[in-house]
Every structure is written in C-alpha cells, then in structure tokens.
Symmetry: none
Subunit: 194 residues, 4 copies
DNA sequence: TATGAATGAGCGTTCATTCAT
DNA sequence: TATGAATGAACGCTCATTCAT
C-alpha cells in the first residue's frame, strides 16, 4: 500500500515550503509564481496541491513556520527575571537577526508583514506571533522601571528595535549587527542605574 | 511646445498617484490592478500611460512622494542641537504616525519596504529616504552619549522605534500612539541624567 | 473616442455567440474549451471577456438566444384559434426542426437541456422558454377536446412530439422530417372527427 | 486464472457504475470528476482502472446498462398485438418515467442523449436502444391505422411522447406523470374509434 | 491485487500594456 | 490628446491517468 509515511509526508511538505521560501525571497509572494515554486521544489503542480490547497495556504504555512520558529526561540529566554530575562530575550532575537542562515526567512518576513495588512488570516498569524510580548511585559511589570515607562509599551519598544533593524538591514545588508546590538545593550544598561 | 500647461500636467499626475495610493492601501501594489487605479482615478488607461511608463513607475513615484514628504517633515527638526533637536525629530515622526489622515500612506509604506528588497530602484528611493539619519547622527556625535553608544547606531535605533511601531499598529490599529510615545520619551529622558 | 458603437458591440457579441455555437455543436459546452471559442471567433481571450463574464455566461447567452428565437417563432402562430392555431404552432416548430440552417442550434439545444438539470440559471431560461405552452393550453381549453384530455397536458404532448423527434434526429440525421410531420398531422386530424 | 471470482468482479464493476450514476446525476458526466466517482465508490483510483479503461468507458457502460434495462423492460410488452401490446409498451415506459427509484437513471439519460451526438460509440449504444421501435412498428403495421399514419413514424411519435415528458419533468420535477399518462391514453383511444 | 501519490497538459481567466480611432 | 477595445502571455489550479510500492 503506497500510502506514504507521516515522515515522508512531512518531508514533502517541507520541500514545498523551502521552495516557496526560496521563491518568495527572490520576488516576494506575489512576484513568485506557482511555476517558480514547482520548478524550485522539483515537484509537479499536481503533487504540490496534494499538500496545500492553494498558493495562499502556502504563504500562510510559511508565515506560521516563521512564527513557530520565533516562539521556540524565545520560549526559554523568558524563564529568568529582570534584567537577565530581558537581555536573553534581546539576545535571542539579535542572534536570529545576525545569523546568515536566516537571511532568507528575514527577507520573507517583511513580505508577510506587508501582506498581513490585508489578509485577515495572515494578520492573525502575525499578531499571534507577537505573543512573547505579553511575557516580556509581565516580567517588566515586576521590574523597577523609570517613571512614565509602561511595561507593555516598553516591550513593544524592544520589539520595534529588532523589527526596525531587520528592516534597515534588508535594504542595507552591510549594516553591522554587532555594532547595533552593542548600542542597544548600552542603552539598556541605563535602566539598571535608574 | 507643451499642449497642456505644466500645472495641469502636475495635477493629472497627482490624481493618478492619489488613485494609486488608494488602490495600494486596499490590496498592496501587487493586489491592485491597473484597472483599479484607472477606475479610482476616473481616467482612461491610455491617459495614465501618458504620465507614467508603467505600473512600476507609478509605484516608484508613490515611494518617492512618500520620502519627499518625510524629508520635508524632518528638515526643520534638525535645526536645533541635542537634546531638543532629537526630541523634535521624534515628535515629527510620532505626529505622522498618529495622524489619521496619514494612515493610507503608512500602510502603503510597508508594501514599499517589502518591495524595496527586490526592486533596485525602489531600494535606492527607500535608502535615500533614510538620509535624515545622517543629520541625527551628526547631532548625536556632539552630544554626551553614554559609553558604548554609537551615534550612527543610536540614530538607527530611534528610526527603528518608529518603524516598528508603525508596523505593529498596521496589524493592531487600536494600539495607542500616545502611550507608546510617552514611554519612548520617558526612556529618552534617561539620557539626560547619564 | 474609440468607444465602439452599439452596433459594433452587438456584432462582436454575436461573433462570440456564433463561435460558441459552432464549438458547442462539435463537442458540447464542456467538451469545447475557451481556446476553441477564441480560435473559432478569431478574437483574443481578453476581448471575449469584455463581452461575457465567463464561459458559463456564454452558455447562458446561447440558451437565451435559442429561446428568444423560439418565442419569436411561435408568437404569431398563437394568433388564431383551434384548430388552425394548433396547426400553425406545430408547423412553426416542424419548419425549424427540418431547416438545415438550424441544425447547429438543434444539436446545441440538447446540451442545454442536459445542463439545465443542474444549472439553476439555465433551468430558468429553459423553463421560461416553455412559456408558449401556456398559450397553446389556453387555446385548447376552448376547444372540443375528447374526454380525459387535459389542455395543459395535451400542450405538453405536442411539445414532446417535437422534442422527441429533435432528439431522435440528432442521432439519426437521415430521419425524414416530412414523413414524421405527415404522421403527426394525420393523428391530429383524428381530433376534428371526435 | 482469474484471481478473483467472476462474481466478485461483476460486483465491483457494479459498484463503480452505481457510483458513476450517482456522480453523473449530480453534475453530469463532464461535471463529475474521476475523484468524485472514486470517493462515491469507496474504491481507489487504481482499482477502478482495473475494471474500466477510462472515464469514457464508464460512461459507455452506464449508457449500455440503461439500454439493457430498457430492452428488458419492453421485451414482454411486445408479445401481444394491437392495440394491447401498444398500451403495454406505453405503460411499461410510463411506469419507468413515474418510478421515483429511477429518477437518477432518467436524469443521467438526458446527458447520455446529449453526448451521443458527438460520441460515435455512445450514439451506437443509444440507437441500438431504439430497437424496440422496430417491434412496435411491426405490430402497428398489421393494425388498422388512420390514413397517412406511417407505422414506423407512429412508433417514433410514441417514443417522442415519452422522451419529451422525461425531459420536461427533468426541469419541472412536480409535473404529474399520471395526468400526462391519462391524456396520452385518452388520445390513443381515438385510434380505436377510427 | 490494490493503493493513492504523482504527473503534467490543459483548463478558465486576468492582466499590464498598446494603438486605431 | 484622450479613449477604451484589443492583445496574448501568464496566472493559479484541476484533471484523467499511471505506476512504484
């Protein structure tokens, strides 16, 4: 009975997602055609549609994959308190932002962000990916923050610091992540002294 | 010998760009068809192609318009020194980020950002729009910054703080700009005490 | 201004419908592809979609055209009473069934009939095309019909006599319409004597 | 050396034909996909192709089945002479037309009729199904028919009366078969008096 | 024998762009 | 100058059929 194993099924799915990532990186989800994904994956049109209902479903799976990756990344950063958990949170992100192997994912992320503005399903996936913010905020709530600093908003500032850098580096690949990271860390040290 | 006045030509151009912005806001530049822009502008297909060579040219013009707007916005914020110029720089941006009339432009900006990753012309327009960073950095270079804080990178952090918020609010329109702004300002106050 | 005249628009529409009829005759609406209609019409894909929203819309237009033709055909047959109006009704149909120029339309009609079973819009078009039955029935209602003969059902019998022959001749083109018609007329004469 | 018994083979074949009938009834042979038939039968794609060479072969088998059914139906109606054999012929048909259990077969029949116009094999099956006409005609040939009534053509009229009603009822399921039948029988009684 | 994953040609339709009027 | 009808390549997707297991 040729019913394929769960393992093979997962591998084929991943093959498609990898091909989609590669295609999306080059031209964005709209610029990449199904033919591109088909060629990149080495599979046939029909085969791909056994794993995903539509191109849209592939885009959503790519978005989901990215956020699962992100959540796993941050899961254990949140196990320690302020200010060490905070530092780990930022470091986990910065490691991702600096990792050459993740360049593709970062570039595709920007397309997902743009698309999430119109696509309700994608918007949900993206905002659910913002969940770690809650954890960061609850850690910050117990910390001696300067007056006027809201824990929720501070968490968003930290995320923005990452997102903005990811964006800037997507246009200027030569931007040095280490220098940026050092500056951010130096700024965060001001908190300890307050 | 221009058959139509320069003034009329500019007005027609603007009409197309406004229609494009409206169309792009709804579905992004890829999701919006030339037919959408044609319908929204009330002009004919042929007429539009007298003002712009291609859809791509319209997208570039939209991107350029946005960055000219941005530059004008920041031009006079840079006339005073640290820390007042810095505050004005941030306030100018925050006013834009909070202005309901600018919602359309902000949403389209995210698409431009994504597209700039692949489109060289767009990338140049976007990175040229980053010019104010240089001015901010040169102001910061003369300021008594904490140890380890690079002026160029600090300027990027400030930009990131805006960009990230713009992004987050594009997915969660209810996010309160005032609360975010207050937290950012409170954090920046730490600099004065250092 | 190249906005085409109403006349040209109607001509183009007809060109598409004629091409569709020719294509449908050869292979039925499902067997004929849009490419067939495009080739047959000598128009481009895009042009056709300016006149019809979809292939389905073309099929509906073909069905509508056929029934408008039919209604016009029967309109004046109904101006006289029994038994002359009845004879004219049948003759009008028989002339159509025997007319070589109408062979295409007859063959396509059978496909429309089949399709009308599932397609609600088509079903409405087809059943509205049955309207003449009401007129025939009302003429028959005033006639001295034999006992047990319901005017509505008799009208349906008459229609069935046509439909069935159309069907039989679609499989056996050599069937002689004249012989069939003579036999039907002879049978109808029995009514006069009753 | 058949690995499976002839009996099982026939049962499997029937299972496929039943699934095909059910699928064709819903959407016609073109609207129904092999996947539909596969799902409806509970068999696998590969299994079905061991019993039928192609979808076309299934359609032909469905058509053949229908006409075998029809022939069996009429076989013994033809054992008696005019006018009783005639009445039995019509009654056998009318029973089929009124039988709710045969609704599926009737609806599919219309599709077969349409398709038989282009498909030579189907046309042969359908015209061979018209064989009873010959028997009816030969019975009628010995009967005292009114002047101008050709036995062959009269047989066709009788068939048309059935076919047309089947068609009309496929669009208007509420049509009362009994009323139609009564009217037809009343009309046929005129023959006795002539 | 039976399975269902895989194939890839072909489907209906859309789109940015052109050009006769 | 302006119009919008026309183009035709390319799109996302489905399908009957095959064949490795």
């Amino acid at each position: 009975m040729p019913r394929i194993s769960e393992q093979r099924r997962a591998a084929q799915r991943q093959r498609i997602l990898d091909a989609a990532m590669a295609s999306f990186e080059k031209a964005g989800p709209d610029g990449a055609s199904m033919q591109d994904i088909i060629a990149e994956s080495g599979m046939s049109a029909g085969a791909i549609y056994r794993y995903f209902d539509s191109k849209e479903a592939i885009i959503e799976a790519v978005a989901t994959e990215r956020h699962e990756h992100e959540k796993a990344l941050l899961a254990d950063a949140m196990t320690v308190g302020f200010p060490d958990g905070l530092r780990q949170f930022m470091n986990a992100y910065f490691d991702w932002v600096a990792d050459p192997a993740e360049a593709q994912r970062r570039r595709v992320a920007v397309h997902i962000w743009a698309r999430a503005q119109h696509d309700e399903r994608l918007r949900q996936i993206v905002t659910e990916g913002l969940a770690p913010l809650k954890d960061v905020a609850s850690v910050l709530a117990d910390a001696p923050l300067p007056a006027g600093v809201d824990p929720d908003m501070f968490a968003r500032v930290l995320l923005a610091v990452i997102q903005g850098f990811l964006l800037q580096r997507s246009w200027e690949p030569d931007l040095d992540p280490q220098k940026y990271r050092d500056t951010v860390n130096s700024l965060l040290h001001l908190l300890n002294r307050s």
